[in-house]
Amino acid sequence: MNKIISKEHFSENVVKLEVEAPLIARSRKAGHFVIVRVGEKGERVPLTIAGADIQKGTITLVIQAVGKSSKKICSLNVGDYITDLVGPLGQATHIEKVGTVVCAGGGVGVAPLLPIVEAFHKAGNRVIVILAARTKELVILEKQMKENADEVIIMTDDGSYGEKGLVTNGIEKVIAREKVDLCVTIGPAIMMKFVSALTKKYDIPTVASLNTIMVDGTGMCGACRISVGGKTRFVCVDGPEFDAHQVDFDELLMRLNAYKGIENK
């Protein structure tokens, strides 16, 4: 049982929770995820960690209410408990000094991107962040990103904030003006697919952090399997980050929809 210490609404459907988890706060690194379960009949859901405070013994999770389980998590309030929380899981982001790193986040994927931005910046890289959202209200963590990056470019679909356009337009703008050594992307699978296609064209090494369906999250069930370079890999233990240019995004998109229709019944 893990207590919720604070709750903030980023938008109507996007919630930030600060949760008591002293052991995870101490052992987690950028890129790690946790499995969360709410209620005795709850589902095990993977969530990438958005931050941690070792002194307070807390981790931060940012959740978008889309399905039954994420809505349940978002409905929790300060003082409530998460029934089960386990982690940190997966491989941490490989951080090194490579030069210029473009970090492209979309939707709630921006939240787990923050610790990666922090880590690359600390390692001495020039970090350019591209935050993409449908509209102004959905742009999150702009201030925190600005504190940890050399530049933050904001893209909105409707042009209500920052520049009008998709995340890929923002990346292309950076590529046009300077050399990019690495791209890191987290967001909806379809967004990462297009980011990957773009950077492949320019031959820029790209890492995508994938969020798949999981049951145990500890390397047992294989629900999270995807094809990377034609080989089956397990996101929970081999990932969640992979060479985006090798990921079969179409298969990933298909597998993400596996339980659509069943869940809503």
Binding site: S27, K41, R44, D84, V86, V215, T218, C221, G222, N257
Partner: protein
């Protein structure tokens, strides 16, 4: 006292001598072997939670116990990985002292009600029974074990094994499956302070996520776990050693020994086209959804496919558990697809028999070579290669060879049950731990000690995929060896 001295001493107790004289061996061997009471196959194939085997009545158990000849050198015991004192518990059943029988089981087994249900006795204790040598069916040791354990549980008078004086030495156990629980029980009896760390939200490992309710109800596992709690064992869920806490964290917190029983991990797939289609999954995923997450319960949040034509690939116990689960979730056709013939199937004969009675179809000498999906990426068909049996392979079983003939059948769900690879978490997290090319932890066969002196290991993380009872045997062996190791290093 050595084991053989203990066997002899118990055998010469006056009540045992008297009991042996009551009936001649000829009369004992003339009694036919008891038949397990079972639920009706048609009924049970639609009921998800009711246990198939109903157990023996008192009368049946006492009569079956008479079949045991109380051999002076009980070879059955050699066949038991945890060394249960078999004749002593059976003779207690014969004289009606059922609680006493249960106590005997608990001397060496932390999970008698589990073993009485899922052990392959026909390959172990029962295969060494004197009756077999006489060309007769073995004493139903497994049924009797289950009877004694169930009787004790249902009586409410559950005995807790004797605990030696506490020595306050802290020991960590990684994983709460059969190996971990067996180790924990034995070490607690020796007076150690045991903490079991479990990655999942439930205690029990494969006993909870893997084996279905109709073969091993969860509440029976919980009672056995509760006995361990009463013996002073502490359980911590949602904690992954090597991730949440490290090897050095355990040391810094005063743990003097670690037993790694982290179990099976990554499910094996065949790497054939279409294997990542929606509706194709591992038996680990399928069974975990149904058993651990209760996904077939309408009140549970975890979703599950309820395929109408379900193919299960494999011929082991896990394949049988999966295919029988599929039937219970409403499959119109549940098919075992196995590349060898039925004779080579590793599943227990009882499981195969139960599956057939319930209406499972067996498509042997067939091997999938491709899955074909629809526009949504959902599996709809499977292409099968017909096989024939060739020369025996390394396992001694005849090798399946492709005939070149193919067949395509309609299916809407595939459960791949062709084994697992060891869980990679611990091997990746402990520096200096010797790991085999298969990913298993390398241990000394006699002691289960790893290349790190205070780390012992057992169960599937060492064996790569075996049975509950072999895992329990490892736990017992490792407990004895760690006890010796810690005493000698004091």
């Amino acid at each position: 006292m050595t084991t053989s001295e203990l066997i002899a001493a118990r055998r010469s107790e006056p009540w045992r001598e008297e009991l042996r004289k009551r009936k001649k061996n000829k009369e004992r061997t003339a009694i036919p072997r008891v038949q397990m009471n079972e639920l009706d196959p048609e009924y049970r194939s639609h009921t998800r939670l009711e246990e198939v085997n109903l157990g023996l009545t008192k009368e049946q158990a006492m009569l079956e116990a008479q079949r045991c000849l109380d051999c002076p050198t009980p070879t059955c015991m050699d066949g038991c990985p945890v060394g249960i004192n078999i004749p002593t518990f059976i003779k207690n059943i014969e004289r009606g002292e059922f609680l006493e029988a249960a106590k005997v089981l608990k001397e060496t087994s932390a999970l008698p009600a589990v073993c009485g249900r899922v052990c392959p006795q026909e390959k172990q204790c029962e295969s060494k029974c004197i009756h077999i040598k006489m060309g007769k069916p073995a004493v139903a040791i497994g049924y009797l074990e289950r009877f004694a354990a169930d009787f004790e549980r249902e009586s409410g008078q559950i005995s807790i094994p004797e605990i030696k004086q506490k020595n306050n030495i802290k020991i960590a156990v990684v994983g709460s499956g059969p190996a971990g629980l067996s180790f924990a029980g034995d070490m607690a009896k020796r007076g150690y302070d045991i903490t079991v760390f479990e990655a999942l939200h439930e205690i029990g490992g494969v006993l909870k996520y893997g084996i279905p309710e109709f073969r091993l109800p969860n509440h029976i596992v919980d009672v056995e776990i509760d006995s361990l709690r009463k013996m002073g064992v502490t359980f911590i869920t949602n904690c992954i050693v090597g991730k949440t806490i490290s090897y050095s964290d355990l040391h810094n917190n005063g743990f003097r020994g670690i037993f790694v029983a982290s179990g099976a991990g990554l499910p094996n797939f065949m790497n054939i086209p279409g294997e990542n289609l929606v509706g194709v999954m591992s038996s680990n995923e399928y069974l975990t959804r149904v058993n651990l997450m209760d996904a077939a319960n309408p009140n549970a949040d975890t979703p599950i496919y309820k395929g109408k034509r379900v193919a299960v690939i494999g011929g082991g116990n896990t394949a049988m558990d999966s295919v029988r689960t599929a039937l219970r979730l409403g499959a119109e056709q549940a098919i075992i697809v196995y590349r060898r013939s039925e004779e080579e199937m590793p599943a227990r004969i009882e499981e195969i028999k139960h599956a057939k009675e319930e209406g499972v179809q067996f498509l042997t000498l067939h091997n999938p070579i491709e899955y074909i999906g629809d526009e949504q990426g959902h599996v709809r068909q499977m292409k099968l290669q017909k096989m024939a049996l060739g020369e025996p392979d390394a396992s001694g079983r005849r090798r399946p060879v492709p005939t070149g003939e193919e067949e395509t059948i309609d299916i809407d769900e595939v459960i791949v049950s062709i084994g697992v690879s060891p869980n990679p978490l611990i091997p990746r997290a402990f520096d200096g731990l010797g790991i085999s090319s298969k990913g298993t932890i390398i241990v000394n066969e006699a002691t289960n000690q790893s290349t790190i002196s205070d780390v012992f290991a057992g169960g599937d993380i060492v064996r790569g995929g075996a049975t509950v009872i072999l895992a329990m045997g490892d736990g017992r062996k490792a407990a004895a060896a760690m006890d010796d190791f810690l005493k000698s290093s004091l």
